[in-house]
Amino acid sequence: MVAAVLLAAFLATGIVASHGSIMRRVIALELGGVLTTLALLLLAEGFDRDVYFDLAVVLAAMSFASSLVFVRFLERWL
């Protein structure tokens, strides 16, 4: 249930990320990464799958790294 709410919120961030200024899109992308990670955590617990927890841990690190790369590109080149 809560995972479904988070995924619905993720869809809203997708809509925000699809139009508007480029910084607005990046911020929506950052928020979407957090929501996806939390939804994965809850789905892993709900479906009783250990391996999905590893996916959430990796996604937490990778969403940070990818957002940082986007931000550096926006600062310097785009």
Binding site: R24, V26, I27, L31, L35, L38, V57, F64
Partner: protein, 105 residues
């Protein structure tokens, strides 16, 4: 419904409310720097509440440790990301992140 289940439901409900509130703030905020503020609650409060719910359900097994690891990662890394995003926004607007002489006064 056991007291443990009540605690888990309350923690997850709060996490969902914080996440939805942040998304509403993201949509309703006036400008990009205001929008950036709404990244903090969902990155700091919600992961901690979700990790606490997993700990309440599982005790300290490998799943709970991984959930706590995710929460700790967000708590530590989100300020770095927010600062980098705000800096990029300022560089795009003004060409430099350092304060101007007028701003120093």
């Amino acid at each position: 419904m056991t007291p443990q289940q009540v605690v888990i439901d309350v923690l997850l409900g709060l996490a969902a409310v914080v996440a939805v509130g942040s998304v509403v703030g993201l949509i309703a905020a006036r400008d990009d720097l205001d929008r950036l503020h709404y990244l903090a609650p969902v990155s700091v409060v919600s992961p901690v509440l979700v990790a606490a719910a997993v700990v309440a359900r599982e005790a300290f097994d490998s799943r709970a440790i991984k959930a706590l690891l995710v929460a700790a990662a967000f708590v530590v890394l989100n300020p770095v990301l927010s600062q980098a995003t705000a800096r990029a926004q300022r560089v795009r607007e003004r060409g430099d992140w350092r304060p101007t002489p007028d701003e120093r006064k």
